[in-house]
C-alpha cells in the first residue's frame, strides 16, 4: 500500500482507478481519461496534486542560497508572490529535479518539487542550506489542488469570501498570494489558465466537492499526462534526469547564465556544454502513421539514432505526439521503431496545443 493524500477516500468514493505513483496511491482516471482531458481544455477540471512536496525556506540568506541552488535566477523575482520555473542541477550539470520557486518575503521562499524525487531533493537542499544558515521545512500539513481550464479561476474564486475574490482574480500568471488559509498560485501543468491551491490537508475535501457541484470535473493522472504533453511540458524521469543537462532536455530557456558572476551548482559543466555545443537535443514529434509513441522507442534520423522520452495519444489533436532526444542539428523527418515497424514522424517545436487549439499547420 502506498501513501495516501487527504483525498484518497474521496477518490475511491468517486470510482477512481488508483495506481502507484512515486509511492503514492493516486487516481489515474475516474470514468474516462479522454473525457477528463476534454473537460480541462473546454471548461475546468480539478486534480489532486497533494503528493507533490512543498518546502518552505526561511532565513536572511535564503535568496543567496537559492541563487546558488537553482539554474534559473531568483534575482528576477522582485515582487512578493512572483514565481519561476527552474531546474536544480548537480555538479555535473545533470538535472536533480525541476520545480517552481515562489518569492514570499525577504527571508521566505517556497519550493514545490516532484513527489518521486522528494527524498533526494530534501537531502540535497538540507545539506547545502546549512552553509547559508537557511531553515528547511517540509510542509507535510498541506494538500494541493490544481484547478485548470478556461473556467477554472472563476469557479475557484466562488469558494472564497467575496472580499477576497478580486485579489485572487488579479493574480498575474506565475503569481501567488496567501488568501485566508489558502496559498493560491496562477500556475499549472496543463497549458490552460488556472490555479494551484495549497491548503491545510484536513480542509481539502470540501473545496473539491464544491468545485464538482459547480461542474468542475474530477481528473486523474492519465489526463494530467496527456494535457502536459500537448502543452509541451517536461516530465522528470522521462524527459530529463540526473544523466541529462538542460540544453539536451529542451530546458535551456530555464537556465540563466547572466549575470556571469552568479555561480550556481552545475554552472561550470553547463559552460563547457555551451562552449562545445550540445550533442543532443529534445524535440517534439508528431506521428504521421497510425500508432502511439511511447518512452524508449528508438528514433532513427539521418546519420544517427535517438529515443522517445515521452509519448501518448493526444485527445485534442487525435494523433500521437511525443518528445524525443535525438542528435543535434536541423531535423524535420524521423522514423520511429514501434513494435518492429518503422513509422514516419515529423519534428514539431513544442507546444502542440495552446488555448485549447492545435498549433500544427
Amino acid at each position: 500500500m502506498g501513501r495516501h493524500t487527504p483525498l484518497y477516500d474521496l477518490h475511491k468514493s468517486q470510482g477512481a482507478r488508483l495506481v502507484d505513483f512515486g509511492g503514492w496511491d493516486m487516481p489515474v482516471q475516474y470514468a474516462s481519461q479522454i473525457e477528463e482531458h476534454h473537460a480541462v481544455r473546454r471548461a475546468a477540471g480539478v486534480f489532486d496534486v497533494s503528493h507533490m512536496c512543498v518546502i518552505d525556506l526561511t532565513g536572511a540568506r535564503t535568496r543567496e542560497f537559492l541563487q546558488w541552488l537553482l539554474a534559473n535566477d531568483v534575482g528576477k523575482l522582485t515582487r512578493p508572490g512572483k514565481a519561476l520555473y527552474s531546474c536544480m542541477l548537480n555538479e555535473a550539470g545533470g538535472v536533480i529535479d525541476d520545480l517552481i520557486v515562489y518569492f514570499l518575503s525577504a527571508s521566505d521562499f517556497r519550493l514545490v518539487v516532484n513527489a518521486g524525487t522528494r527524498d533526494k531533493d530534501l537531502a540535497w537542499i538540507r545539506r547545502h542550506a546549512q552553509d547559508f544558515g537557511v531553515e528547511v521545512r517540509e510542509r507535510v500539513d498541506l494538500a494541493m489542488l490544481a484547478v485548470q481550464g478556461p473556467q477554472a479561476r472563476q469557479a475557484s474564486v466562488t469558494l472564497l469570501a467575496a472580499s477576497d475574490r478580486e485579489r485572487a482574480l488579479a493574480l498575474p500568471v506565475f503569481g501567488g498570494a496567501a488568501v485566508a488559509d489558502w496559498f493560491i498560485a496562477r500556475t499549472g501543468y496543463t497549458g490552460e489558465d488556472g490555479f494551484e491551491i495549497m491548503l491545510p490537508g484536513e480542509k481539502a475535501v470540501e473545496p473539491w466537492l464544491a468545485l464538482n457541484s459547480l461542474g468542475v470535473v474530477s481528473c486523474g493522472l492519465g489526463a494530467r499526462d496527456t494535457l502536459r504533453l500537448e502543452a509541451g511540458m517536461n516530465l522528470y524521469g522521462n524527459d530529463m534526469d540526473e544523466s541529462t543537462h538542460p540544453f539536451e532536455s529542451g530546458l535551456g530557456w530555464t537556465v540563466a547564465l547572466e549575470p556571469a558572476e552568479r555561480r550556481f551548482s552545475g554552472r561550470e559543466a553547463l559552460e563547457r556544454v555551451v562552449a562545445a555545443g550540445s550533442a543532443r537535443q529534445l524535440v517534439g514529434l508528431l506521428l504521421e502513421d497510425r500508432g502511439v509513441l511511447r518512452s524508449h522507442q528508438k528514433v532513427i534520423v539521418a546519420g544517427g539514432t535517438g529515443e522517445v522520452t515521452s509519448g501518448t495519444f493526444s485527445p485534442t489533436l487525435e494523433r500521437s505526439i511525443g518528445l524525443a532526444r535525438i542528435p543535434s542539428g536541423s531535423v524535420t523527418r524521423v522514423e520511429v521503431d514501434i513494435r518492429s515497424k518503422l513509422l514516419a514522424a515529423r519534428t514539431v517545436k513544442p507546444p502542440f496545443v495552446r488555448a485549447g487549439k492545435s498549433l500544427l499547420s
Binding site: 481519461q33 479522454i34 492519465g222 497510425r290 500508432g291 502511439v292 501518448t312
Partner: protein, 130 residues
C-alpha cells in the same frame, strides 16, 4: 465485476466467440479486457480473406496505456473486420460484446484450446481478483 453473456464462449486471454446463424463466428474482447486497457484509441482488425491459425495474433487494440494483441481462438478464414472501429475504436469500450466486435470468420477446425463457458470465464475473473 464485468458481465459475461451466457450465450458466448470465452478464452483465458479474454476473447469471446459468438456463433452466428450463417455458420460463421464473431470474435471480440471482453468487457473486463476493455476495462483493463482503458480508453482505446486504435483497433487494427484483419482483412477479409485472411487465413488465421488457432492462437495466431489476429488483431491489435491500443489504448493510451498499452498496445495489446488479440489472439484468434479458432482457425479459419476472415469474412469481415469491423469497419466501424477505424473511426470509433471507443465502441469496444462502450459495447465490448456487441458493436465492439473485432472480426468474423468461417471456422476451419477446432479451437486453439477448450473454450470456456460464461460461468467458467466468470470463475476465472474471480480467481484473478476482478
Amino acid at each position: 465485476m464485468s458481465q459475461a453473456p451466457a450465450d458466448l464462449t470465452y478464452t483465458k486471454s479474454h476473447e469471446w466467440v459468438r456463433k452466428l446463424k450463417d455458420g460463421t463466428v464473431e470474435i471480440g474482447i471482453t468487457d473486463h479486457a476493455q476495462h483493463e486497457l482503458g480508453d482505446l484509441v486504435f483497433a487494427e482488425v484483419p482483412e477479409k480473406g485472411r487465413v488465421l491459425a488457432a492462437g495466431e495474433a489476429c488483431a491489435v487494440v491500443e489504448s493510451v496505456k498499452a498496445a495489446s494483441d488479440v489472439y484468434c481462438p479458432i482457425a479459419g478464414e476472415v469474412t469481415a473486420g469491423n469497419p466501424d472501429l477505424a473511426s470509433a475504436p471507443e465502441l469496444i469500450n462502450q459495447d465490448a460484446f456487441g458493436r465492439g466486435w473485432l472480426l468474423r470468420l468461417r471456422p476451419a477446425g477446432a479451437p486453439a484450446g477448450a473454450l470456456l463457458s460464461a460461468a467458467e470465464y466468470e470463475e476465472l475473473l474471480r480467481a484473478e481478483g476482478s
